[in-house]
């Protein structure tokens, strides 16, 4: 063996986690505003594992990081529709179910839905789920349009309606999938389309309302809605409910509403998964099992106002939240939800291109 070869071998030995005892460290990459304040601290206390916590606000950015490889994360939280392709690309390692006894706490019917994306629930563990709908400032909308269609996608997609709210600020998620799928639903087309002409139609329609949109961003609308800087947003259920809570916590006279439009809204599931090249997979399993503890899962649901897939956790969820059908939809509301299916790569490309053009206003 050459000198260089010997050194390389020695370095590999040092760097290889498989050969050494796994370090007491865990890198988590989660959505912004998506966990309770104590969860991480309590996990660290209970296990002695130091957590390095980092956030993102779009599936696309997460996927870009995963595809680049060597992300260094041990836990990531993709949405199930995105995860399907990522599993195909070999980005995740299989979950060792024996190491996660709390898997039994999860809702079986929900696991079957998620299995459409992740056959046999081999790679992902549901974290939270929610819907993509409309958040709005109740007073400002009423002021500008007393008979505003607040139960309908028309509120944001009808150019004649949304034009009235331009002056108080209109925001949209900066994600092609949520925005275009919602648009297609409003247009009466298949949100999970396979036809490029549908994408074109959505683009054409979005360009009509583009002049009234202040910005595209996937996280800052929470504060802006709570602070009264915007009055209308196409956003995520829990984020908008968080905005409502923040407004009342700060004692502001801002009342925020969240609506699942009557035409139907997209339901999605965010999954905990372990990247194939995660440096600390054992710690990752410990973390997943910890999150699935009923008390922890309940606290997280309370903190972020998204629905927990953990049936045992429901007893720890605030009654008020459980009763809110925009967060925990009742059977009637569930009828209006449509599934978030994985797009073919051609359509995915068409989505992103169309969305880029819409944002540029071309």
């Amino acid at each position: 063996m050459t000198v260089i070869g010997r050194w390389t071998f020695a370095l590999l030995l040092l760097a290889s986690p498989a050969l050494a005892q796994e370090q007491k460290i865990l890198h988590v990459f989660n959505w912004s505003d998506y966990i309770s304040d104590d969860a991480i601290e309590d996990f660290e206390k209970a296990t002695g594992i130091k957590v390095v916590y980092d956030t993102f606000d779009s599936n696309e950015v997460l996927e870009a990081k995963l595809m680049a490889g060597k992300s260094g994360y041990d836990i990531v939280v993709p949405t199930a529709s995105f995860m399907q392709r990522q599993i195909g690309a070999g980005l995740f390692r299989k979950v060792d179910k024996a190491k996660i006894p709390n898997l039994a706490n999860l809702d079986k019917s929900l696991m079957r839905i998620v299995a459409n994306h992740d056959p046999g629930n081999a790679y992902g563990v549901p974290y939270l789920w929610g819907t993509t709908g409309i958040g709005y400032n109740i007073d400002k909308i009423k002021e500008r349009m007393p008979n505003a269609p607040v139960d309908s996608w028309r509120l944001i997609f009808d150019p004649a309606v949304v034009a009235k709210f331009k002056d108080c600020g209109v925001a949209m998620l900066d994600t092609p999938s949520d925005v275009i799928k919602s648009t297609l639903r409003f247009l009466g087309r298949d949100p999970n389309t396979t036809k490029p002409e549908d994408v074109k139609a959505a683009e054409t329609h979005l360009l009509k309302i583009r002049p009234f949109i202040t910005y595209f961003h996937s996280s800052k609308y929470i504060n802006d809605l709570a602070g009264g800087d915007i009055c209308l947003v196409l956003g995520y259920s829990g984020d908008i409910v968080q905005a409502r809570n923040r407004a009342s916590d700060a004692g502001k006279k801002v009342e925020v509403g969240y609506v699942i439009p009557k035409e139907g809204a997209m339901v999605w599931f965010d999954m905990m998964a372990i990247p194939a090249d995660a440096p600390h997979p054992q710690n990752a399993h410990a973390f997943i099992n910890y999150i699935l503890t009923p008390e922890v899962a309940g606290a997280i649901s309370n903190a972020v106002s998204y629905a927990s897939p953990n049936v045992k956790a429901l007893e720890f969820v605030d009654e008020e939240l459980k009763a809110d059908s925009s967060v925990y939809p009742n059977a009637q509301v569930k009828q209006r939800l449509f599934a978030d299916k994985t797009l073919t790569s051609d359509i995915d490309r068409a989505f992103t291109r169309a969305f880029t053009r819409v944002k540029a206003g071309k």
Partner: protein
């Protein structure tokens, strides 16, 4: 021995260029010729089944969709605006500094460079505080009764040009100062002696002799401005599709590395042209001056 040393020393910039420009660019070019896939890495290999699989499809797509052409034109336009603004502000500054007493020059130049001690991001954020509709400028003008209603200076192209002008101004001032300072003051006396009024002395002697600095400064402002990402991201709206932002979107939102790489290659080709032109002009002037 000294011959070997000399060859080694010549090798340093060559190695530098190879390591920090040649290899990354070769990688970008390779990605630009491949196709996007959902995989790790997210692009197809250039050689598969013993055959070359590369294609110019990504470049064709760039040409087809006027979004990219618009982004390139918008970037060139904003970068040119920032460059002209930097020149208009920076030349008089450099001229004034070069005209002060020698002991004042170093402190004045230090003042020009002073903003660099603060993080670039923080300085751009400060501009947000000044320009946004609920920001300092808008509120002040409103409270003075000069405007009614908030003044939305950002997000806008004007704010982006302003931000880039602010950011890159020192890069314009310093090279112009350096070239002005090098001009022998006796040349101005000679021109005056030959009948040139002060304005004519400036146009026929000072300005042409400071052109190398103007050229270098314009390049230092224009080239990074074209590919600027942070300023349009923070001060620009979604309607400001500068090429740096579009490349970011292609990489992160669209996860399309090949297209993003193709864009980067086009941008580089676009910038290589003025750099090469400037280089030639520089060589020509240097020949005339030494």
């Amino acid at each position: 021995m000294s011959g070997l040393l000399r060859r080694l020393l010549v090798g340093v910039p060559a190695t530098w260029l190879l390591l920090f420009f040649g290899l990354p660019f070769a990688f970008i070019l390779k990605v630009a010729l491949s196709q996007a896939v959902v995989a790790q890495p997210p692009f197809t290999p250039l050689f598969a089944d013993g055959r070359f699989q590369g294609s110019l499809a990504n470049f064709a797509l760039l040409a087809e969709d006027d979004l990219y052409l618009d982004a390139i034109l918008a970037s060139l336009r904003l970068a040119a605006t920032a460059t002209v603004a930097c020149l208009a502000l920076g030349y008089p500054m450099a001229w004034a500094i070069a005209g002060t007493k020698r002991r004042w020059r170093a402190p004045l130049l230090a003042l020009v460079a002073l903003p660099f001690v603060t993080s670039f991001l923080i300085r751009v954020y400060a501009w947000i505080g000044l320009l946004r509709p609920t920001g300092f400028l808008s509120e002040t003008l409103q409270s003075l009764g000069l405007i009614d209603g908030p003044l939305a200076l950002m997000p806008s192209d004007v704010a982006v040009a302003l931000g880039m002008t602010y950011t890159y101004l020192p890069f314009m001032v310093l090279p112009i100062y350096a070239s002005l300072e090098k001009i022998d003051p006796v040349l101005a006396f000679a021109a005056a002696d030959l009948g040139a009024r002060p304005g004519r002395v400036f146009w026929s002697i000072t300005l042409p002799l400071s052109l190398p600095g103007v050229l270098a400064g314009s390049l230092f402002v224009f080239v990074p401005s074209v590919g600027e990402f942070v300023v349009p991201e923070l001060l620009g709206g979604p309607g400001t599709p500068m090429i740096g932002k579009v490349i970011w979107q292609e990489f992160f939102n669209n996860r399309d590395w090949p297209l993003a790489s193709a864009l980067a290659v086009v941008l580089l080709a676009l910038l290589a042209w003025p750099i090469a032109r400037a280089q030639r002009a520089e060589t020509a002037t240097a020949r005339g001056l030494s």
